[in-house]
């Protein structure tokens, strides 16, 4: 059952990604609608598959790389669908859905071995921490997608190239706003995630902060986004500079997620 949903999700994400990419080169209201429909259907299938898995396992599927990647991808798609509806930015899909698709593909390529859940993971603080962390990561992913678009559009404007892609991309202001929105949601979530994570760490290991690589890098991520938000709110950092920082932040997020392991769990 879970497999079926998962397969369906992958197929729908794949189709949606393809249509979003076609939308970059061809303009058609019909294509745009279908891209969104396919992705929404994929999101629902993904959500059902996650819920089904959770009810089967009796815990939130966030305990290994496979489950986490899948959840990461789910959060990205959910976040994107929200922004697409709110700001009518189809082109964002061309930049974000491939990331979600790749994560889902990577997730499915990993082995989901049945195993005993590590006792220290059986804490409500852990679930809370992990879920919030992934939702904030999804926000940062979208912010980075928008930042890439912003840099491209900015480049076109500065070099006076008014081609088809220039016409397609949304206005700088909208992209700046989406990026800012992502940060204002993602940053508080990350903050709560880090706090709840350290509470869990205290419960599981007896210390709030053990300087394991994951914790350290999470702190670095937090500092990057704190700097970005602070710069924006006080001296009006925006545009190109903010975009570059948002991309940098995302690279660090990816690095932390893939390369840094909790010293104790996996």
């Amino acid at each position: 059952m879970t497999h079926m949903f998962f397969f369906l999700t992958a197929a729908l994400y794949g189709c949606a990604t393809a249509v979003y990419l076609v939308c970059l080169v061809r303009t058609s209201p019909l294509l745009t609608r279908w891209a969104s429909r396919l992705l929404t259907a994929g999101f629902i299938a993904h959500l059902l598959s996650t819920i089904h898995l959770a009810s089967k396992l009796k815990y939130l599927p966030l305990t290994n790389m496979q489950e986490s990647l899948s959840f990461f991808s789910l959060a990205i798609v959910g976040g994107f669908l929200f922004f697409e509806r709110r700001y009518k930015v189809t082109t964002l899909g061309s930049f974000v859905t491939p990331v979600a698709l790749m994560m889902l593909a990577a997730s499915s390529s990993l082995h989901g071995e049945v195993r005993q859940l590590h006792p220290i993971l059986q804490s409500n603080w852990f679930w809370f921490h992990a879920m919030l962390a992934f939702i904030s990561y999804a926000c940062f992913t979208i912010a980075a997608g928008v930042a890439v678009m912003y840099l491209i559009q900015n480049y076109f404007l500065k070099t006076k190239q008014f081609g088809a892609l220039f016409q397609k991309l949304p206005s700088l202001e909208i992209m700046d706003e989406i990026s800012y929105r992502c940060l204002t949601v993602g940053f508080p979530l990350l903050t709560i995630a880090i706090i709840s994570g350290s509470i869990w760490s205290e419960q599981a290991m007896g210390s709030y902060w053990i300087w394991d690589p994951k914790q350290t890098w999470s702190l670095i991520i937090w500092l990057i986004y704190a700097a970005l938000l602070h710069g924006r709110l006080t001296i009006g950092w925006r545009g190109k500079r903010a975009a570059i920082l948002a991309i940098l932040g995302f690279v660090v997020v990816l690095f932390t997620f893939f390369a840094m392991k909790h010293s104790i769990t996996w």
Binding site: T27, P29, Q153, L157, K158, K160, F162, G163, F166, Q167, P170, S171, L172, E173, I174, E177, I235, G236, W237, R238, G239, K240, R241
Partner: protein, 433 residues
């Protein structure tokens, strides 16, 4: 019944000719009335814009109808026919339908995709409907043309891009600043293009205008015109940071806004982007300004480039539009040709029945000892003969309706059997629709 188009446009006649044959909308009733009184013309619409004067009409006699309408245009405007004639074009059948669809879709316009023409045709049709010069065919025809134009507009990008400097500036500003409703325009100096652009920005929802000029009175006058604020030229840099869009066209011999000014302005507005358009020659704004983050400087040349690209894009889209029109012509042509099938069959039947009756009456009247039943039998006999004779042509006509030769058949039948001019019961036809 045939649709014909007679007229002239910017393609065939210079403005000197076009203005002479223009029909004023204020007294359109008179020419419309005269048009449908012309021999053989059953319905008519007059479209008169500054780029074209065209008459759409329906007639049975294509050549005669066209000639009479040409003559009518010359006579109505008291022009010498020989002078006007070379500028007039005339179209019929499919070409006429295609032409009107193309005109309504703005494919035949001077600037392809310009939006006014559809409205102008709608107005012209409104007059024709009001003064009852259009009937069942032109009503249907024009409505079809409107729906084709709508399809073209929604399914192609023919009208989606700006082709004037002022519009290109607005579109570009939207690409940077997004929604313009909370944006302020600063107008430095005066100049037609600058004022036009300012007007377009206001029409596109810009919040307000500031105007500055070396002569303050001039600034005040312009500010009043736009409902904006006049700023003394010396105080320009005290106000510049309020502006999101800066349009500059002074006659200054050197740059009046340099990179350092812009850096200061940006700092004061917390790096909210500013869109500069420099229309002046020599330039008002130092080109180095464009190198500053969050400042975007464009000159008229850049806007022209956008326009050229948009025009190229429009002609690409025009090809798609022609495709749409091709599909729709077929449909409409089919409707037009099957329109007369039923009335022709009815007329043919009536004609046969008329002959049968008169011959039957003659025979019975001269028959002295009419056996009983004979009248009934003769009636049945002649009826059966008539029905048998009519069966083949009737079904041929009905089937031709699905093909394309139905016009031919109808004309042949009308001539061979001397059918009266078809009496068209409008209500009946409307029910058929």
């Amino acid at each position: 019944m045939n649709i014909i188009v007679v007229g002239l446009s910017y393609k065939t006649a210079a403005v000197e000719i076009r203005e002479k044959v223009a029909f004023s909308p204020n007294c359109i009733e008179k020419p419309l009335g005269e048009l449908v009184k012309l021999e053989g013309i059953t319905e008519g619409i007059i479209v008169s814009t500054c780029n074209r004067v065209e008459i759409y009409a329906t007639t049975r006699d294509i050549a005669g109808g066209i000639a009479r309408i040409k003559r009518f245009i010359a006579d109505y405007h008291h022009l010498q026919f020989e002078i006007l004639e070379p500028h007039l074009y005339s179209l019929h059948a499919e070409a006429a339908i295609r032409h009107v669809f193309r005109v309504a879709s703005s494919l035949d316009s001077m600037v392809i995709g310009e939006p006014q023409i559809l409205g102008q045709i709608k107005t012209s049709y409104g007059y024709a409907a009001e003064f009852k010069s259009s009937g069942i065919i032109l009503n249907r025809f024009l409505h079809k043309a409107f729906s084709v134009a709508k399809r073209v507009r929604t399914e192609t990008k023919i009208a989606s891009s700006a082709v004037s400097v002022a519009f290109a500036a607005v579109e570009l500003a939207k690409k940077i600043l997004g929604d313009l409703s909370d944006k302020t325009v600063m107008l430095i100096g005066a100049g037609e293009m600058c004022e036009l652009a300012a007007k377009h920005f206001l029409n596109s929802g810009a919040k307000g205008v500031m105007v500055t000029n070396r002569t303050f009175e001039r600034a005040e006058k312009l500010a009043e015109e736009f409902g904006g604020v006049a700023v003394p030229f010396e105080a320009l840099f005290e106000h510049l940071h309020h502006a999101d869009i800066v349009l500059s066209s002074t006659g200054a011999p050197h740059c009046i806004i340099g990179p350092q000014d812009v850096k200061d302005v940006l700092k004061r507005r917390r790096f909210k982007p500013v869109f500069f358009i420099d229309i002046a020659v020599p330039r008002d704004i130092d080109p180095k300004v464009d190198g500053i983050e969050n400042a975007y400087l464009f000159t008229v040349d850049h806007l022209q480039e956008i326009i050229q690209a948009n025009l190229a894009q429009r002609s690409l889209e025009a090809e798609k539009a022609e495709e749409i029109i091709n599909q729709e012509i077929g449909q409409f042509h089919k409707w037009l040709s099957t329109l007369e099938v039923t009335p022709t069959i009815v007329a043919l039947r009536n004609r046969f029945d008329e002959i049968r009756r008169s011959e039957l009456d003659k025979t019975i009247a001269g028959w002295k000892e009419l056996p009983p039943d004979a009248e009934k039998r003769l009636e049945a006999l002649t009826m059966a003969m008539m029905n048998k004779l009519l069966h083949a042509p009737t079904s041929a006509l009905k089937q031709a309706g699905q093909g394309g030769r139905v016009d031919l058949y109808i004309d042949a039948l009308r001539q061979m059997f001397e059918l009266e001019a078809l009496q068209r019961d409008d209500e009946e036809l409307e029910l058929e629709e």
